[in-house]
């Protein structure tokens, strides 16, 4: 095979997982979160002491647990897509259930964390740090809820339909969205919980 035809073969095998429309949404969403990160870091640079004192009031262990929950849920989603590609319907359903089951623990953990903050009188209005904390993690949580609903739709669709190109596109698209939710939390965890002043 010549270099040119080999390069064409490689090009042909390139493929975007899921629906292109979902990828446009993901692109817009990560761009929006990049602005959130910039806003947070700008606020931090102007009120370093306040941000550091407030950061110390967070429980990084809960942040760690949340991260491990979402990473593990994401892994089950990746395994579900793997089973989908191998026409393994039972494996696909099992991994989607595990994905949503483990992922749902994030709601409990986040609910516990928010309730602890409220119990200590900390709210959106406490200071600039906690405004950003509640707004950005709240918007992320909304993404999480949409993801759980979308995985529920995948489960419903896979149970009632054959594995065809339509179900493949649906599960792959929801999978990419779910991984994005995981990815955004990775940055939020590092930026809000772990970035301490030297």
């Amino acid at each position: 095979m010549s270099d040119v035809s080999a390069s064409r073969e490689v090009h042909k095998s390139k493929r975007l997982a899921g629906d292109e429309g979902v990828w446009f949404f993901i692109t817009a969403d990560v761009a929006m979160f990049a602005v959130f990160f910039a806003v947070f870091m700008d606020g931090r640079s102007r009120s370093l002491e306040l941000f550091e004192q407030s950061r110390r009031m967070l429980d990084p262990t809960i942040g760690l647990v949340n991260t491990l929950i979402l990473l593990t849920s994401s892994w089950f989603m990746a395994m579900a897509v793997h089973d989908l590609r191998h026409q393994n319907r039972a494996g696909l359903l099992r991994n989607l259930w595990l994905c949503v089951g483990v992922g749902s623990l994030f709601a409990f953990s986040k609910g516990f964390e928010y309730s602890q903050k409220f119990a200590h009188g900390i709210s959106l209005r406490t200071n600039e740090f906690f405004s950003y904390y509640f707004i950005f993690t709240g918007i992320h949580f909304l993404h999480f809820v949409i993801g759980v609903i979308a995985i529920g739709i995948c489960l419903f669709t896979v149970r009632r339909n054959e594995l065809n190109s339509r179900t493949t596109r649906l599960v792959e698209s929801v999978g990419c969205y779910w991984h994005m939710v995981d990815m955004l939390w990775i940055v939020l965890f590092a930026m809000i919980y772990l970035l301490r002043a030297a």
């Binding site: 090009h11 997982a17 990160f37 892994w75 395994m79 991984h179 772990l194």
Partner: protein, 89 residues
Amino acid sequence: MMGLLRNSNTYVWLALVAATVLSFVLAEDIAASRLATSAIVVVAMFKVRLVFLHFMELREAPGPWRWIFEAWTLLVLALLLGAYWFSGS
């Protein structure tokens, strides 16, 4: 069980978990230093890239899509590190 060990997703997940624990240890157990905190940011963006390329399969995606997210990763890395270092930490 053997199926899990044969699947590359499992190794990506293990790397992500290990990197997360490393970040936590760097943040909690090592004396506050600019370098340790910078390492936390670098590890976080390494994890982001792993999720993009492997879980979201961007390593298989047509060029423009992959490079949009590679650029986003670099941009956020520069933003976090730049703001951290130029704010007096």
